[in-house]
Subunit: 213 residues, 2 copies
Amino acid sequence: MSTARKRAPSARSLETKAKILDAAELVFAERGFEGAALRDIATLAAVPVGLVHHHGRSKEELFCQTVRRRATEMAQIRMESLARLKESGDLTLYAILDCFMRAYITLAETEGAPWRAYGRLVAHVSSDPRWKGLTEECFDPTASAYLDEILTLYPDAERAAAAAGQVYSVSSMLAHRNSGWRIDALGEGHQETELERLVTFCAAGFEAILNGS
Amino acid sequence: MSTARKRAPSARSLETKAKILDAAELVFAERGFEGAALRDIATLAAVPVGLVHHHGRSKEELFCQTVRRRATEMAQIRMESLARLKESGDLTLYAILDCFMRAYITLAETEGAPWRAYGRLVAHVSSDPRWKGLTEECFDPTASAYLDEILTLYPDAERAAAAAGQVYSVSSMLAHRNSGWRIDALGEGHQETELERLVTFCAAGFEAILNGS
DNA sequence: GTCTATATGTAGATAGAC
DNA sequence: GTCTATCTACATATAGAC
């Protein structure tokens, strides 16, 4: 068939492609899809512009690939965390949300720029209906798995209520990572924004709407 | 002085400027700052491109003016609502958050496109540090006033904790308005996303972190 | 204030040599 | 796969007639 893959790419090629994706995620995260220029990505990756087109196929494709690469890894980590939590038997709403959030926040706080950029990338993706397809592909499976677990704990709750709680929680988590400057400005001080506080907020809010539905 | 204002603009001029701002808020909301083209704004407003430059001075200035126009009105409404609430004497955390959120959600649900666009505009502004100055000017005074009221109810709470709650709450409110498609997708159904549910979530979460701090 | 014409820069994409 | 050169389109901004 004509759909057969070409022969495996060389090590050099893979390395170049990785460099391009590394640069792309920083630039896309910083400036958004429209604001990012392929030329800046090429410069940061220290490759000619042509190569960015060659590996990315198009700006839109490159953006999707960039998100997909991290999202795949993130989803895997989150599913493993959830599996471990289920084995531990400590299934509470707080524990499930903590599991979901800690998986990312830990990476962002310890693994440096790439994962910090990913948070902003996700914020761009999930605030623009343009990326609806990408969202469904990258985020929905994991979100649904966690949602199911929560609904098991609250069998009388409506799924729609839980879905709202999930979306509010994720947006709070993104604000926690991406809008620390807002919290500092309003709070008149600098703080290690604590993960516990975020999870406490979301768990209490979540429980309130699950019981009330 | 050379800072003296020129003579008052004609009625025609004010009308044109309003048309331009009306168009600008829709285009900026839809496509973000970078993605919006002054040409599209001009087309939508049915004026030549040159006029957009004349009234806006620059793309960045035009963006700020667009946000400022609605933000000023929003801030006034929110401050009046808060004053009325204080007179009523029914000062609870839930009532304060309901007051803050209902002020906007009502406009978005009853006043059509412009106020719905404003929600997305605010999301763009508060997710990009580039607009830090604009944020401080347009949103911080109102946010602080509500924050003070909440801290009066919880005198032992840290201001930093309340600031975090405020930021989480606002981001949840923006998600409520702007990411309804996400809630629908995860909830597998269409719903009148209810304001009560949002306020319940935020009030419960807020209280949990205020008591715990 | 209004509008036309144009200046200037830069974007994404492509063709083709190596 | 890699890289250079170039095509085409459209962006913001300005100068100047009305």
